[in-house]
């Protein structure tokens, strides 16, 4: 039972000091959660702290790989627009990765 930080994390540090278990560490290319320390905040807080402050939709996933903050939920940017942006970013990234 643990959350996971994925590549859309922008390394903003907001989550790191909030974790009651020091489960979040600065890492490259992005922050990560040490799975066996993460309790999903149960017993400490009603809400998972990292997922409650993280400003980036989709950056933190639950144990099933579902985003705790799905597209549109934080910015208010309509779901479709948000999804198409994510898709665009993905394509751009793939292109950059493919470039020599």
């Amino acid at each position: 039972m643990a959350l996971e930080i994925v590549e859309s994390c922008v390394n903003c540090w907001a989550c790191e000091p909030l974790c009651p278990n020091q489960a979040i560490v600065e890492a490259k290319p992005h922050f990560k959660i040490i799975a066996d320390r993460c309790t999903e905040c149960i017993g400490d807080h009603d809400d998972a702290q990292c997922a409650s402050i993280c400003p980036i939709e989709g950056a933190i996933l639950d144990e099933y790989g579902e985003p705790l903050n799905p597209p549109g939920s934080l910015t208010g940017i309509p779901m479709e627009l948000a999804l198409s942006l994510i898709e665009k970013a993905r394509i751009a990234e793939a292109r950059a990765a493919a470039a020599p």
């Binding site: 390394n11 540090w13 907001a14 790191e16 809400d47 409650s52 400003p55 940017i77 942006l85």
Partner: protein
């Protein structure tokens, strides 16, 4: 050789002083501040219209985290309250920030102010922010410190702030009404929970107001920034201006919303527009009856270095700093001497201005005001080639005199790369940015831009090169008047009939 360090002694009498129209020259926005406050801010590059030509400031980006979301911000980039959107600053540890500050202050002796303004909210990163302040208060006590915040964590930080050498605090306040707030702030992080909508905005507004009151009660100077968002808070900001003044803020700075789809912000994607230069100036005018307005704000980057309007940040990357060999004590002595020299020069200029015999009240001739754009590289004179100007100062000349209105950047959305370097589009952008001006004063101008400007109804004029800006504006106003070009628009025909 200590410089007088700006302390915390209260400047309580903010209700005193005299109104802008009855005291000092109309273009000196600090003139109607109570003396105690004016003494504190008149040498601050960001607040004082004349000091910003002489003194330098820098920002360090030590505070990455944020505790709220603003609709004009995309957290992939720096905080948009304090920089222009779409900017990413190099994040520093407090240790690196202290090194950088000292290196800059040793290299640019005009340095007077260090600010922490991001890339997130400084008070949402209290350890990093206060570590930086604590060390700088000890190691470079002549540098004034300032900090900007969205206000959410302000009340709990006031005690700590008052312990450091803090010169002033900037709070971004966009509204007083939670219903309006909910259209600007989708959520805040408060007491271990994310709180959305009106309720979140209500908490934020309460904290901002409480923080403002606590700071002014302790005599710490507070400036208020607002982002003008047409159709959302533009009318409401007049009320904001009144209230924050009543609570003791010494300056209110209304900044334009900058919203572009490519910044990936809510407003950018939802096509919320920013205000036109004219709308912004009108609102600033409407608010200035109640409040000092700050019109020369450049919306600097969170890691900007140098004089206002310039950024020498690249000279001070961590690698370059590591190679510098600096004698800090010597640098501080040199700074003291340079600051003294500048202060003397500024004071002499101010005395000269004050001593100038006020022109006898001329009978009003019923002439209309004119907006004049000026290309200047500083020192208050017209000393820049039109083609080199990346921003213009816009003044309004009227029968009541000359007053500064705003800065117009011509490269506002331009990152400076080769894609936007072609002369024609820059010129087109400049013409657009200055479309409400009737004249542009510069030291020199090329033949081609001359023709295009003239065709667009903006008369170029290089005859006042090296003259003080205000005198030159007054002179061309008189020239226009003499040429009969300033008859009030519209009713000229009626009068003649």
């Amino acid at each position: 050789m200590e410089l007088p360090v700006i302390g915390q002694e209260a400047a309580q009498s903010s209700g005193g002083g005299c109104s802008a129209s009855s005291c000092g020259s109309s273009n000196d926005q600090l003139s109607h501040l109570p003396d105690a406050i004016r003494a504190k801010v008149q040498d601050h590059p960001c607040y004082s219209e004349d000091a910003h030509h002489y003194f330098a400031r820098m920002h360090v980006a030590v505070a990455p985290a944020c505790n709220i979301q603003c609709h004009y911000c995309n957290r992939k980039y720096d905080c948009s309250n304090e920089s222009r959107p779409g900017v990413v600053s190099e994040l520093l540890t407090p240790d690196q920030a202290v090194m950088k500050t000292k290196a800059v202050a040793a290299t640019i002796p005009q340095m007077t102010v260090l600010g922490i303004a991001g890339p997130g909210d400084p008070l949402a990163n209290p350890e990093r922010t206060f570590e930086t302040f604590r060390r700088l208060s000890e190691e470079a006590p002549d540098i004034k410190l300032c900090v900007s915040t969205n206000g959410l964590a302000l009340p709990e930080s006031v005690e700590e702030l008052s312990r450091h050498n803090i010169d002033h605090v900037t709070i971004t306040i966009n509204c007083l009404d939670p219903e309006i707030g909910a259209k600007i702030y989708p959520w805040v992080f408060w007491k271990n929970r994310r709180i959305f909508g009106v309720e979140g905005a209500r908490i934020l507004i309460e904290q901002q107001q409480k923080g403002l009151e606590m700071l002014t009660a302790r005599g710490i100077l507070v400036k208020v920034n607002s982002v003008m968002i047409p159709g959302v808070n533009d009318q409401h900001l007049k009320e904001v201006s009144k209230v924050v003044k009543a609570k003791g803020a010494f300056l209110h700075n209304v900044m334009p919303l900058i919203a572009e789809a490519e910044h990936g912000t809510f407003y950018g994607l939802m096509e919320q527009r920013g205000p036109t230069a004219e709308e912004l100036e009108d609102l600033q005018d409407a608010c200035s009856g109640d409040m000092n307005m700050m019109r020369h704000c450049r919306q600097c980057r969170a890691d900007a270095v140098g004089m206002l309007g310039e950024d020498r940040g690249e000279e001070f990357s961590l690698e370059k700093i590591a190679e510098m060999n600096i004698d800090y004590d010597k640098a501080m002595e040199m700074r003291a001497a340079v600051h003294e020299g500048i202060t003397a020069e500024l004071n002499a200029k101010r005395a000269e201005k004050a001593a100038a015999v006020p022109a006898p009240e001329k009978a009003k001739r019923g002439l209309r005001p004119v907006k004049i754009a000026v290309a200047t590289a500083g020192q208050g004179v017209i000393n820049q080639h039109f083609g080199h100007a990346r921003e213009f100062l816009v003044y309004e000349a009227s029968e009541d005199g000359v007053r500064f209105l705003s800065h117009r950047k011509t490269d506002l959305y331009c990152s400076g790369d080769e894609t936007c370097g072609d002369g024609e589009s820059v010129l087109a952008r400049t013409i657009k940015a200055l479309s409400d001006c009737e004249m542009v004063l510069c030291s020199k101008i090329g033949f081609e831009p001359w023709g295009l400007l003239e065709a667009a109804g903006i008369m170029p004029n290089g005859e006042h090169a090296m003259e003080p800006i205000e005198e030159a504006c007054a002179a061309v106003y008189e020239e226009l008047a003499a040429a009969g070009k300033l008859e009030p628009k519209g009713d000229g025909a009626a009068c003649a009939a």
